[in-house]
Amino acid sequence: MISWLNQILSVTLFSLRTIPERKGSAFSAAIGIAGVVAVLVGVLSIAEGFRAAMSVPPNQHVAIVLRSGADSEMTSGLSREETRLIGLAPGIHEGPNGPMASSELFVMINLPKKSTGTDANVPMRGVEKEAAAVRGDLRVIQGRMFESGRSEIIVGAGAARAFSGLDVGQTLRVGANEWKVVGIFSGGGGAAESEIWTDAAVLQPAYNREDSFQSVYARLETEGAFQKFKDALSTNPQLKVRTLLQSDFLAEQSSILTGFIETIGMSIAGLMALGALFGALNTMYTVVASRSREIATLRALGFGASPVVISVLFESLLIALLGGSIGAAAAYGAFDGFQAATINWQSFSQIAFAFAVTPKLLVMAIVWAAVIGIIGGLFPALRAARLPVAIALRET
């Protein structure tokens, strides 16, 4: 056993020492694998970032109420009377100013996107006083909160980065109305950072909405209170509404886009991995072929077949891991934190987000590289072990 391990060690060290002699092909195989990994991580970091932008902090228990049958805030509608009834339902957290619920209005305005200069659908939300308290983690990071009753807006940090004309102090002209940007905010959970917020009472007349809303956001007493809240609304004969947790609502809202990116990412990475696998196989076969005499000599000296197989596999794995690390590092440098904005078809509005290269993705990258390396090395390694010693020794 010990001698077997010794054999493996010495054969492997021996082959590793000779890598510099074939650095060209080893390098090209590593580059191929680095490419696969970089692409896989890059594409999936878009989906990860998007998902992160569409999530809520774990301890934030917020319910959202829409009209029954509505699949987004855009297609929902609730009257003042309905929102009043919803605000009275049990399960809502009681704040200093009464139940923590905010009836909200959700519209779109066109603003030029900084990256392309063309118009994009930017979501604008009319909220009530309790809105920030409902979300819990919303902070004004520059300027101040809007004053109720005035044409003032605060802008989410993501929206301020992605679209023109949203710096504090600027005035936004939308139709016949002028809005003054008075603050930038961050947090708020979900897509809030991509939005523009103002007082619902000011937004209603500006958008000819009379006295109606589209959704109610309510902070729940506890996570368990959701069922109580939901049941109370669904059994109320005066209401026909759909109640769901904000986290579920956001997951539903982002399903098409994340599904799209992940499908593309996985199929591309799969194809690419195939390409890199062929590259790795080619390299390792060449390595085995060029070393056939050397390997035969080792075998003639009494080294077993398995140390030879393991040494070839090890070399291939090493090349793959090297490539994988290069690729993962490159993807991290190139993509992590990259600011982007895209349209979410399900809400028909722009979402600003940052690409996220998460540790999970990096681990996955290394696993892919290792798998390519092992498969790429296995067949050539078996060939090396099966080389007929006498013939190989005679080879030039």
Binding site: G24, S25, S28, I31, G32, G35, V36, A38, V39, G42, I46, R67, G69, A70, D71, S72, M74, T75, S76, V107, M108, I109, N110, K113, S115, T116, T118, D119, A120, N121, G175, Y207, N208, E252, I256, L257, G259, F260, I261, T263, I264, I268, L271, M272, L274, G275, A276, F278, G279, L281, N282, Y285, T286, A289, A340, A341, T342, I343, W345, Q350
Partner: protein, 386 residues
């Protein structure tokens, strides 16, 4: 021609390597084909935009509605030939949010088909549509997606537009339209506005946006300004732009993601080519001595060059052509995600670009080692072997 067998023998010398190289080139060109289809899908609307069409929408946002009465006022503006309006209906089939597609009531079937000649509908279906109040026409790809046939009754629910008295909207499919061009989107569902307006619970007389045909495409910009001027300072101001610009703006809403995906795919393509090209070059470099021997027995420099290039081009073609073919087959199967990418196909002019790249790969991969071999002095080459 007599040297064909020589090239063939060289290719067969290391069969496994030749195969693996061909396969990596194959993968690269499958990717290339898919990349082209994806790029085309992101910009499909721009490609088919009619030069004689304008799109007028509410100045604030596409989601804001305009009065139906604008049709009449628009037609009175000099240079306007006809106008048709659309309203986003957001129809859902069988209560499943995934069964979602573009569905819209349009003001007038006759004018609609006149303004959009790329939607090809049989004459009998057109007559049927005029006669059927609940009639709807669907595009070929949408009909295929749900297996709809002419005569089918299709109930749709709309989260935006509840029907008076509740329940689903009933439509009768009176025709299936084809696209005049391959880039034409045939995933739409169009039905009559009179039915829609009468039965909707609220919002009577409000419509989404207008498509306007101008009599003279050269006058399009002027007509667009005249249209916006007509409605300025009203509660419903418009923004009118050529359809191409509108579609472009729409496509660019995807923005960075589209650009990113395409950039990443291009990087992949070139990485694979680099690796495959390197292997091909390596295969030639290994045989430098042999090429010297050929020259020693009287092969000219030019002939050696041609032999080497023929070999690398053959590999590139074997992998590249099958790869493009596979990509073509994949895209011919239709869009993998019809709700995100309604148009998905491989445009012929990009196939030509692909062909160019195949030859480029063959030539570049073979050229450097071939030039080396050509310049090699016979004596040196022969001595190297010894």
């Amino acid at each position: 021609m007599k040297f064909v067998s020589l090239v063939w023998c060289n290719l067969r010398r290391k069969k496994l390597r030749t195969w693996l190289t061909i396969l990596s080139v194959f993968v690269a060109f499958v990717l290339f084909g898919l990349l082209c289809a994806l790029k085309e899908a992101f910009t499909a609307g721009v490609a088919v935009a009619g030069a004689d069409r304008l799109i007028a929408r509410h100045k604030v946002s596409l989601i804001m509605l305009l009065p139906e009465s604008y049709s009449r006022r628009m037609r009175q503006i000099p240079g306007v030939d006809s106008a048709v309006h659309f309203t986003w209906f957001n129809g859902i089939y069988q209560d499943d949010a995934r069964n979602f597609f573009a569905s819209m009531p349009i003001s007038d079937p006759e004018e609609f088909l006149k303004i959009f000649p790329e939607y090809v509908l049989p004459e009998s279906a057109r007559k049927e549509w005029m006669a059927t109040r609940t009639g709807a026409i669907v595009g070929r790809s949408l009909a295929g997606r749900f297996g709809w046939k002419v005569g089918d009754q299709v109930p749709l629910k709309s989260p935006i537009w509840p029907r008076k008295g509740g329940g689903a909207w009933e439509f009768k499919i009176v025709g299936i339209y084809e696209g005049a061009k391959r880039a034409t989107d045939t995933s739409g569902f169009y039905f009559r506005y009179d039915y829609f307006d009468e039965a909707r619970m609220r919002g009577e007389g409000e419509v989404g946006w207008y498509a306007i045909r101008v009599a003279d495409p050269d006058q399009a910009e002027r007509v667009a300004s005249a249209l916006d001027a007509e409605f300025v300072n009203s509660p419903f101001e418009t923004k009118t732009e050529p359809e191409g610009a509108f579609a472009q703006g729409f496509a660019q809403q995807i923005g960075d993601i589209g650009t990113m995906l395409i950039a990443i795919l291009s990087a992949v393509f070139f990485t694979i080519l680099l690796v495959a090209g390197n292997t091909m070059a390596q295969a030639v470099r290994e045989r430098t001595e042999e090429l010297g021997l050929l020259k020693a027995v009287g092969f000219t420099n030019g002939l050696v060059l041609v032999l080497v290039l023929a070999e690398s081009t053959l590999i590139a073609m074997a992998g590249g052509l099958t790869g493009l073919g596979a990509a073509w087959l994949i895209t011919a199967g239709g869009s993998p995600m019809p709700s995100v990418l309604p148009v998905f196909y491989l445009p012929p002019h990009l196939l030509l670009v692909g062909l160019g790249m195949i030859f480029g790969l063959g030539l570049i991969a073979g050229l450097l080692p071939a030039l080396d071999a050509m310049r090699l002095r016979i004596a040196v080459a022969l001595r190297r072997q010894a």
